[in-house]
C-alpha cells in the first residue's frame, strides 16, 4: 500500500503541474448584471470537488474551471438555479452543495446545534439550581 502521505504529496505535485492548463481561460460574457449576480451566487454555494474546502468561485482547479463553464452554459440556455444544482447533484452527490439538504442521513447534522444548545442550557440550569440549593458553596464530596 502506498502511504497516504505519499498520495497527498503526489496530489500536490499533480496540482502544481496542472497550473499551466488554466492559464488561458476565456472570460465569461454575461447578458446582464442579474445573470452575473446569479452566476456569482451559484458558484459560491457549490463546492469544488478537487479542493474540497473551496467553492467553485474561488477554486483554480481545472475541474472547477470546467464546472464554472458548464454552469455558465446552462445559464445561457435558460436553465434555472435548481436545475443547475440538480445537474451537479446527479453527478457528484449532495456533497457538491455547501448547504446539505435536510434528509434522513443529514438529520443529525442539522439537529446537532440545537441539541448542543439545549443540552448546554440544561447543564447550566442544573448547576445553577444545585448552587442555589447549597448557598455556602462547599461541595459535599470535597469535605
Amino acid at each position: 500500500m502506498i502511504s497516504s502521505q505519499l498520495r497527498v504529496f503526489l496530489a500536490v505535485v499533480a496540482l502544481a503541474m496542472m497550473v499551466p492548463a488554466f492559464a488561458g481561460s476565456e472570460p465569461l460574457i454575461f447578458t446582464d448584471a442579474e445573470q452575473e449576480a446569479r452566476y456569482q451566487q451559484l458558484t459560491l454555494e457549490l463546492r469544488c470537488l478537487v479542493c474540497q474546502n473551496q467553492n467553485l468561485a474561488d477554486s483554480d482547479a481545472p475541474l472547477a474551471q470546467d464546472l464554472r463553464q458548464e454552469i455558465f452554459n446552462m445559464m445561457q440556455s435558460g436553465r434555472t438555479d435548481d436545475e443547475i444544482k440538480q445537474f451537479l447533484i446527479d453527478r457528484y452527490g449532495d456533497f457538491v452543495l455547501y448547504m446539505p439538504p435536510v434528509k434522513s442521513n443529514t438529520l443529525v447534522l442539522w439537529l446537532m446545534p440545537a441539541v448542543l444548545l439545549f443540552g448546554g442550557a440544561l447543564v447550566v440550569l442544573i448547576v445553577v439550581r444545585k448552587r442555589s440549593l447549597n448557598p455556602g458553596g462547599q461541595k459535599e464530596e470535597n469535605s
Partner: protein, 179 residues
C-alpha cells in the same frame, strides 16, 4: 462521585471520536458516487489516436468492463499502471481507457513508454464526458456490468487488493449470465 466519572466518560468519548477520525482520514476526500447502480451516461468520444473513429456507450455495453480514467499528467496513474496491466493481461475484464483532459501526443507517448493495457481508449480532451461520470480526480475507475450499469467506483489508484476484493468478485456476479 458523578463529578469524577463524567470527565472520564467524556475523555473516552473524545478518544473514540479521534480513533474514528483517524480511521476514515484516508478516505475523507472520497465522495460516494450517486451513479452507482445507474446506467453509464451516454457519450460519443473520439478514439485516442485514431482520427475519425468515434466510440459511444453503446459500443461498450454487452460484456462487463472497467473504465479507467487516466492522463499522462497524472502521477498516480503511473503508479497504478502495472496493476491495470495485470488486470487486462489476466483476460478477466476488458479495460477501457478514458483519457482525461490530455494532449493526444502526450497520451500516445505515455502508452508507448509504459505499455498499453487498454482494449479501447477514448479521448475526453475537454473533460465534458468526465463531468457526466462525476469524475473529480484522476485516476478513477468504474466497473460496469454487461447491461451497462455502474456497479463500483474506485476513486484514486487501483491496487491488487482492490482488484481482488472489490472488482473481480463483482464481475463474477455481473458477467456470469453472459456467454
Amino acid at each position: 462521585m458523578i463529578g469524577r466519572i463524567v470527565p472520564i466518560i467524556l475523555f473516552v468519548l473524545l478518544g473514540v471520536l479521534l480513533a474514528v477520525g483517524l480511521k476514515i482520514a484516508d478516505h475523507k476526500t472520497e465522495i460516494p458516487s450517486p451513479l452507482i447502480g445507474k446506467k453509464i451516461p451516454e457519450f460519443s468520444l473520439p478514439a485516442l489516436g485514431q482520427e475519425g473513429v468515434m466510440i459511444t456507450h453503446e459500443d461498450l455495453i454487452g460484456q462487463p468492463f472497467l473504465i479507467n480514467v487516466w492522463a499522462s499528467w497524472c502521477p498516480t496513474c503511473r503508479t497504478e499502471h502495472p496493476f491495470v496491466e495485470q488486470l487486462a493481461a489476466s483476460g478477466r475484464l476488458r479495460v477501457i481507457g478514458l483519457n482525461y483532459r490530455d494532449e493526444e501526443e502526450d497520451a500516445l507517448a505515455w502508452l508507448e513508454y509504459f505499455g498499453n493495457p487498454y482494449a479501447l481508449n477514448m479521448a475526453d480532451v475537454s473533460g465534458r464526458t468526465a463531468i457526466d461520470f462525476g469524475v473529480y480526480a484522476a485516476p478513477e475507475s468504474f466497473l460496469v456490468d454487461a447491461e451497462g450499469y455502474i456497479v463500483f467506483k474506485q476513486v484514486g489508484m487501483l491496487t491488487p487488493e482492490i482488484i481482488a476484493q472489490e472488482i473481480l468478485p463483482r464481475i463474477q456476479s455481473a458477467g456470469s449470465s453472459q456467454p
